[in-house]
Amino acid sequence: MLKLSGDRVGYILIAPFYLFLAVFIVSPILMNLYLSFTDYDFQQMTFVGWDNYEKLLQDSFFLISLKNTFVYTLFTLIFTMGPGLLFAEILNAKLIGLKGFRASLFIPYVTSMVAVSMVWLWMYEPSHGIFNVLLDSLGLPKIKWLYDTKFALLSIIIMSVWKFIGYNMVIYLAGLQGIPRDLYESASVDGAGVWRKFRHITLPMLKPVTFFLVVTGLINNFNVFEQIQILTNGGPMNATTTIVHQIYNRAFNEFQLGYAASMAIVLLGIIALITVTNFKYGNQTYDN
């Protein structure tokens, strides 16, 4: 058999991976950029310069979707990370039944978004769903949840928090287990209480974990789509439409591929910004 030089074996072994990476990840980013300056409907492509971007600034649907995406991201992030840390802190006390609790909180994360959305669609159902049955039995007025412009986005946020809280908890739990015990012991000797230990030991030691959860959480939540598509399809009255939902509709329902690409570039820009911030401020915290 032909003896290959070290260099060549290295290249050959990464070649299949790089092929798929180039065709399905790197080249699409460049294509996206090019497409965003064109008008394309699967038939005819014309170069239109900055037209798509100018249109974006006046597209009220897109602007609403930006706002919704920001609101969704902010609240989902806060309400998954805060309680996630709290539950991790509780489970870290080595309780009886720890594994069962961890599994119960984690199962929603493993279940598909479609399945989860279908179940919550049923629970949010205005006349027979469990939420309104409960409200009714408490003598409170029923809410139209996903069909009410005031409650629709909130309903989706509640469901997403339920789905992602276990993930945040598991990551925080691992972070907590990495903090040396003697730090707490010497603090106890110095007479520090629970809250002071939390503020001066736990939080600083968890900084890299928190940072990681913020960055990945921002990116993942910014791409919210599946639950929107299934629960509300962006409605009622665009109260729940998001950036990716707009991209999907423009591209695959209206065949405005160039215009959809310009939205995707905005999305990629936001993600690049998050990632760059990550590199700039994140590395120092990873070192410890």
């Binding site: 798929f20 990551i171 993600i271």
Partner: protein
């Protein structure tokens, strides 16, 4: 042991039990609704448990549409994606970690771009790429004229096999192997590829297990991409087929919930059997930075 039964801790345990039960309510709703009749669901009197357990709901639900095929499609796509991506990722991770070649570290850093770009942001160009694959689906050599890999297994699989994350994990894993391993292999007259197959692969079971579990879950649960890429009923995956029950004006909640139960069950079982790998896999996604 004394510590475990401290009253404060028992209180916390009780609190977490209640919380766990609340977290599981949606799953109870899913399971219990799937056994009810539509009459019972629509009656003004709400009962948590079904008055009559209708096991036939499951077979009825599965007879709406071609579920054998949907399950086969999903299983097939999941299996091929997992196997192909694990092969591609492991050899690339090994190469990045243990072999020396020019531009290695730069190539590795560039490849991490795949971990940062969410697939949603590139769905339009990826769709166009698949449509213009040369000589596929009626296309000519320039990728024109046909459908390419649209509405095909290749279209469902190809965009998901690259997996920068897998390469990253394998590289991290192989970096920890001692240098002497390579020298011993060399003394035995093994080439780098032989050494990988004979020494590295047998030692990699935990990471193969972790990635299998993660990749299988991800592929099985995928919805957005099948929604975009499939056209015909015969290419549908289970996640996509679930939306069939919603097309009617009156949603058949019992059918929908029994189908939801059935597509969720395989993964719940996998999770309960391989919880350790799930948690390890999730943890390795981030903490190590």
């Amino acid at each position: 042991m004394k510590d475990l039964f401290h009253p404060g801790k028992l209180g916390l345990s009780a609190m977490m039990s209640v919380l766990s039960a609340i977290m599981l309510i949606p799953f109870f709703m899913m399971l219990l609704t799937s056994f009810k009749s539509m009459g019972e669901i629509l009656s003004p009197q709400f009962h948590f448990f079904p008055d009559k357990w209708l096991f036939r709901n499951f077979s009825d639900a599965m007879s709406r549409g071609n579920w054998d095929l949907y399950f086969f499609n999903t299983l097939f796509v999941t299996a091929v994606t997992v196997v192909v991506s694990l092969i591609i990722n492991s050899i690339a991770g090994y190469s990045f970690a243990r072999l020396k070649f020019r531009g290695r570290d730069a190539l590795f850093i560039v490849s991490l771009i795949g971990m940062m770009i969410p697939p949603q942001a590139t769905m339009v160009p990826v769709f166009l790429t698949l449509k213009h694959i040369p000589l596929a689906g009626g296309n000519d050599i320039f990728g024109q004229g046909g459908l390419g890999w649209i509405d095909s297994y290749m279209g469902l699989i190809a965009p998901y096999v690259a997996g920068s994350f897998g390469v990253f994990l394998f590289r991290q894993f192989y970096l920890n192997f001692p240098k002497e391993l390579d020298e011993a292999a060399k003394l035995d007259g093994m080439g780098r590829v032989r050494a990988f197959l004979a020494i590295y692969v047998p030692l990699s079971k935990p990471i193969f297990a972790t990635l299998t579990v993660l990749k299988a879950t991800q592929t099985w649960n995928e919805y957005t991409w099948p929604l975009i890429i499939t056209v015909s009923d015969k290419m549908k995956t289970v996640q996509l087929a679930l939306t069939l029950f919603r097309d009617e004006t009156q949603v058949q909640w019992n059918m929908l919930m029994s189908a939801t139960t059935l597509i969720t069950l395989p993964l719940l079982l996998l999770f309960l059997l391989a919880q350790r790998y799930f948690v390890e896999g999730i943890l390795s996604t981030g903490i190590k930075g």
